[in-house]
């Protein structure tokens, strides 16, 4: 199989927040590649920097934060743009947001304004990115709503967001995100706030859309099972670091980083019965203002090597094709 062309390459990205309490290294040297049509899952516990990674790509990091190092290369039609170098309020990034790269959120209410109909809002996005008349935009919005399985799209298009059920709002948000046929969709906890039956609908929809539209996908979630359902590759984050990255089938079969192993053993798995043993990771994620020295996971790690893990930051080690891990256990000497 030939590799699809590279679409987005994030290299050594670091995004920090500045406050009186000090510097918070929300994202601290993260690298990953996404090829056209590929689905990447980003997982980790809350506060590990998943959302800030997404915000950095779209250049919507809140004002008290800043991308301090790294490159985010978007490659389209043979041309490469470093998104980090763009003016975050300039014309260029505004065209990319909602155009080449779109985003959906956990809470659909965050994507919509309450005072306009979903039709108004979707057509506005379409007209911002594409040359077309109001009627053509409306036509496309209806098509998109139909595509995401909205019942009676010709009627629903004139509904206000609050009048829709949770599942329908989720669909409307996805329709809006996809209305300009993005090359990359970033979904930040897209199903965390919905019930399992609605989650199954949304996951199925995202799978279909990704396949039909050839779009690449970044799925951010704390639920590894969701990633397993949707993604080709996985990146596990802990305290702003990409501690392990690998193809999905590799990481779930043979996880290497003690944090990944711990996450997988922490969740009871359906079908494993009443007597399954959970082996939870001890403690909780430390305050980001008091980052442990050395390996950020050493305060909770069952494999902790004294005088090594608490002193030296582990290097990133290449274990196999596309399998990288930051852990002293795998250092060869």
């Amino acid at each position: 199989m030939t590799q699809a062309p590279l679409l987005l390459s994030v290299d050594n990205l670091a995004t920090h927040f500045f406050s009186q309490e000090g510097i918070l290294e929300a994202v601290d040297g993260v690298s990953f590649d996404i090829h056209a049509g590929e689905a990447l899952g980003i997982a980790g516990e809350s506060g590990c920097g998943k959302s800030v990674t997404a915000q950095s790509i779209l250049r919507i990091v809140p004002k008290n934060g800043k991308i301090v190092t790294g490159e985010i290369s978007l490659i389209q039609n043979g041309e490469t743009v470093d998104l980090v170098q763009l003016d975050d309020r300039g014309q260029e990034i505004r065209q990319i947001r909602g155009g080449e790269i779109a985003m959906v959120f956990q809470e659909p209410m965050a994507a919509f304004s309450m005072v306009y109909t979903i039709g108004n809002q979707i057509t506005e996005v379409i007209r911002l990115h594409q040359e077309c008349s109001q009627d053509e935009a409306r036509e496309r919005a209806i098509e998109m709503l139909q595509r995401v399985g909205m019942p009676q799209p010709e009627v629903t298009i004139d509904a206000y967001p609050f009048a829709l059920s949770g599942g329908m709002r989720q669909r409307a948000m996805i329709a809006m995100a996809l209305s300009c046929h993005p090359a990359l969709l970033i979904a930040d906890e897209p199903t965390t706030a919905v019930d399992v039956t609605i989650q199954a609908q949304v996951l199925e929809l995202m799978k279909d859309l990704q396949r039909d539209m050839g779009m690449a996908l970044i799925v951010i979630t704390h639920d590894l099972a969701v990633i397993s359902e949707l993604c080709d590759r996985v990146m596990i984050m802990y305290l702003g670091k990409d501690v392990e990255s690998a193809p999905a089938d590799v990481i779930f079969r043979d996880p290497k980083h003690p944090y990944t192993v711990g996450l997988l053993r922490s969740v009871p798995e359906l079908g494993e019965g009443h007597s399954q043993e959970l082996d939870p990771i001890s403690g909780s994620v430390p305050s980001p203002y008091r980052r442990p020295t050395g390996c950020p996971f050493h305060t909770r790690c069952p494999e902790f090597i004294p005088d090594v893990c608490d002193v030296h930051m582990p290097p990133q080690i290449e274990l196999g094709a596309g399998h990288r891990v930051r852990c002293h256990l795998y250092v060869q000497d």
């Binding site: 516990e45 599942g167 399992v196 199954a200 969740v267 359906l270 079908g271 994620v285």
Partner: protein, 378 residues
Amino acid sequence: MAQADAVPNKANAATDASPGQPSEQPEESNVPSSADKVLEVSDLRKYFPIVRGFFRRQVGEVKAVDDVSFHVNRGETLALVGESGCGKTTTGRCVMRAIEPSGGGVLFRKRDGEEIEITTLSRPDLRAVQQHMGMIFQDPFSSLNPRLTVLEIIGEPFVTRKLIRGRRQLEERVAELLRSVRLDPTYMRRYPHAFSGGQRQRIAIARALALDPDFVVADEPVSALDVSVQAQILSLLKELQTELHLTYLFITHNLSVVEYLSDRVSVMYVGQIVELGRTDAIFERPRHPYTEALLSAVPVVETGKAGRRRERIILEGDVADPSNVPHGCTFHPRCPYVQDVCREEEPQLIDLAGANGSQPHFVRCHFAEELDLQGVRH
């Protein structure tokens, strides 16, 4: 309808034992006698009025809980599971009488065998009984008063009920409780904000266990926590159950948690129980299409083990509105097996035990016996 598990297997009198169904031990073994039932809930109802306008005229009602009957055996965990809005929290709160039920009975049986009908108690008597019941909520951030120290929070039930007088004695008891939830007793002078979500949930558990309850209602106690911390709290709850012989009514929307923690499960849909029985039997072979759909919707981690991938059933639409329940079977607008009769006639909760070994297995579906539904593979 009578108390659920007390109903004999009237449903199967005329049906042939379904072929291909490995019958479980036929002997009438560990079906507990009523003396072992901590709680017997019968025909519990809670209707919330929908009021409009200045005069607060009632224009309808939300049937949040509608004729729910179940019991909880001493020492077991009964899970209540279903999508949001199906009435789990309302059921849990009515059982404790934290809110007033609109109808039905809740019989509570203390360790010494004394039986108390909760729904008709006067306020002071109710408070006396409530000390035998603990409650743990979803959100450990809003359930702990930020202005009180851990000592005051956990010690509160002893102080208000005048059960402990001396400060030394109180501190000793609180320290013991903190140790039981695996927290450092020296933390008792701190305020809730100094703790992580998982630690706060431990504090909430310690408080729920303070008066040595017979029975604990846990309403989504891990849903707001991080994955690794969820596992810690689930393991802790399981350990405490063994150590302290606790009985849990465990409310959750997470089916993996149901399987991990519960002995029996009650599946709710729009205010009613649609399936009730042993968790392993139901997960192996569900008999209600809604249970099948719920199990099938759960995403699983693909570890490369053979035979893991199941065929997914995608339900159409959303949960029905409990103020406007569909006619006939409430699940019919989403049910993949719907027939004409489902739109007309409301199915009753019947016991399939005869076709499924001796353990009671209640299902509310016209076709419960015919359908060959898919469970999770072990």
